[in-house]
């Protein structure tokens, strides 16, 4: 509700990834002429990126608000109520999940409107939403951990460049097998964001590639599990202090 009441927090994560998609799809169309490029449409190839980017932006925006609740003492007052700490965290993550799913539907609709057809069909669209939910949960849990650990809006905002670096140092603009620089291909291979993008991308341009999907779910699941464990630990300490 709080995010919905602030149009800037809703519009920016919807529009900015679409602008970047438009720029990259137009500017890198020529890359589809490279031998071995998996599709003739760079828009379809790049459509996976907004799903990851949107989840990141929503996470930052919502967790900045969460950090503000800590800064202003609102969380301390909530802690005095019978509400359990775990419920607070699940509520926070649930809200973020809803925002991420609304965004995912929007990106899918825009992609479809501009001629992208999912190779995996309607079932793939549902699988994509499930995958997006797990990805968003991972980023949201890590963002909540940062908010709880630091209690600082600036620290949470500082996560944005970090996440952005992970995004750009991935296979977002080129399939890993076509990346010529060895050092960059190595970074993209050890970067979990590559597997998130490739899982989403496989549903759009390949169909049902179980290996890509398995790796994507594994990366997103691991992020979620680590983020959630860290967030629970930080929440426990935060409530203990009060």
């Amino acid at each position: 509700m709080r995010t919905a009441r602030q149009p800037a927090n809703v519009v920016f994560p919807l529009i900015f990834p679409m602008l970047l998609l438009a720029v990259n799809a137009g500017g890198l169309k020529a890359a589809t002429n490279l031998p071995g490029f998996p599709t003739s449409s760079f828009l379809a190839f790049a459509l996976a990126v907004p799903f990851i980017q949107g989840a990141l932006l929503a996470t930052i925006n919502a967790n900045v608000e969460f950090a503000r609740d800590i800064q202003t003492g609102f969380l301390n007052r909530l802690a005095l109520t019978p509400v359990r700490g775990l419920v607070l965290l699940v509520g926070q993550l649930g809200g973020l999940l809803t925002i991420a799913l609304v965004q995912a539907v929007f990106y899918l609709a825009v992609g479809t409107a501009f001629g992208v057809r999912l190779a995996s069909g309607i079932g793939g669209a549902f699988m994509l939403l499930v995958l997006e939910a797990v990805i968003a949960l991972g980023f949201a849990a890590l963002g909540s951990w940062a908010a709880l650990k630091t209690g600082s809006t600036e620290a949470v905002q500082g996560l944005f460049p970090v996440f952005f670096v992970f995004l750009f140092l991935s296979s977002m603009n080129m399939p890993r097998n076509l990346i010529q620089a060895d050092w960059f291909r190595w970074i993209a291979t050890v970067n979990p964001v590559s597997y998130l993008i490739e899982a989403v991308r496989s549903l759009v341009i390949e169909g049902w590639n179980w290996e890509a999907l398995g790796l994507g779910f594994a990366a997103a699941g691991a992020l979620s599990a680590i983020g959630f464990a860290l967030a629970i630990h930080a929440l426990w300490h935060r409530l203990e202090r009060t």
């Binding site: 720029v23 137009g26 500017g27 890359a31």
Partner: protein, 259 residues
């Protein structure tokens, strides 16, 4: 003191203050240096295969091709980041005290512009060293390279004056997207990844009328020693500086009128 001396004294004071904050606060320094380096690394690393695309015939390779974009982008954003500082000074109340104390308020704008220039020179020095370490090939001679950095300087000044004009009118840090987004869009609606001739569809149409395209193509011509659109690019650069000077001065007058 003459009016000129007053202006210079105010400009020196403002520039020193901004630069002191910039160089002593890593929260300001690190993103300014890291972002251009990061874009350079990401573009060159991920997209170097683009040089194999049929029709891509840039003589000095993809590293030099992207270096020019990163140089111009860092110039524009060093200017825009200065606008963030002006907005912060308004919110903290410092600008009001500065306006009361400055015998010539034009010096305030000049000071911010000077600080933007020094910020960019710092950033671009580091980016240049990294590009050379990454074996960037340079085909242009000394004069052509000087011209390339001069183009960056013009874009830096234009960016600073644009952002100053916005900051002077809106006087809040919430105006940051208004300063940043048009610059981001105009830069990326140019031939960033491939030459103009390889762009297709709507982006080709937009890039063809985008003034930054001429700056990019001229910059790439200068670094490769194969000059093209140089005169047009300098005319556009000077035009942007002159136009945004008026914009910034009128913004200053509005800020004065607002008290």
């Amino acid at each position: 003191m003459t009016q000129f001396e007053d202006t210079i004294a105010v400009a020196r004071g403002v520039a020193w203050r901004v630069l002191h904050t910039f160089f002593t606060n890593k929260a300001f320094l690190l993103p300014s240096v890291a972002f251009p380096l990061f874009f350079f690394t990401a573009f060159v690393g991920a997209l170097s295969r683009i040089r194999d695309v049929p029709g891509f015939d840039f003589p000095t390779g993809y590293t030099a091709f992207q270096f020019v974009f990163v140089l111009l982008q860092s110039a524009a954003f060093a200017g825009v980041f200065t606008g963030f500082g002006i907005a912060r000074d308004f919110e903290s109340g410092f600008m009001r005290r500065l306006m009361v104390a400055a015998p010539n308020r034009g010096g305030i704008l000049l000071g911010y512009a000077l600080s933007a220039l020094v910020r960019w020179l710092t950033v671009v020095s580091i980016v240049t060293v990294v590009a050379l370490l990454a074996h960037m090939q340079v085909g242009g001679n000394g004069v052509e390279l000087f011209g390339l950095y001069l183009l960056g300087l013009l874009l830096n000044l234009a960016g600073a004056l644009w952002a100053a004009g916005v900051a002077m009118r809106l006087r809040t840090q919430q105006a940051a997207p208004v300063m940043q987004m048009p610059v981001f869009l105009i830069l990326f609606f140019a031939p960033v990844y491939v030459p103009l001739g390889l762009l297709q569809g709507w982006i080709h149409g937009v890039a063809s009328v985008n003034p930054v395209t001429a700056l990019l193509e001229a910059g790439r011509g200068l670094i490769s020693g194969d000059r093209q659109l140089t005169v047009a690019a300098f005319a556009i650069g000077i035009g942007l500086v002159v136009g945004f000077s008026f914009w910034a001065v009128r913004g200053l007058r509005r800020a004065e009128a607002a008290g």
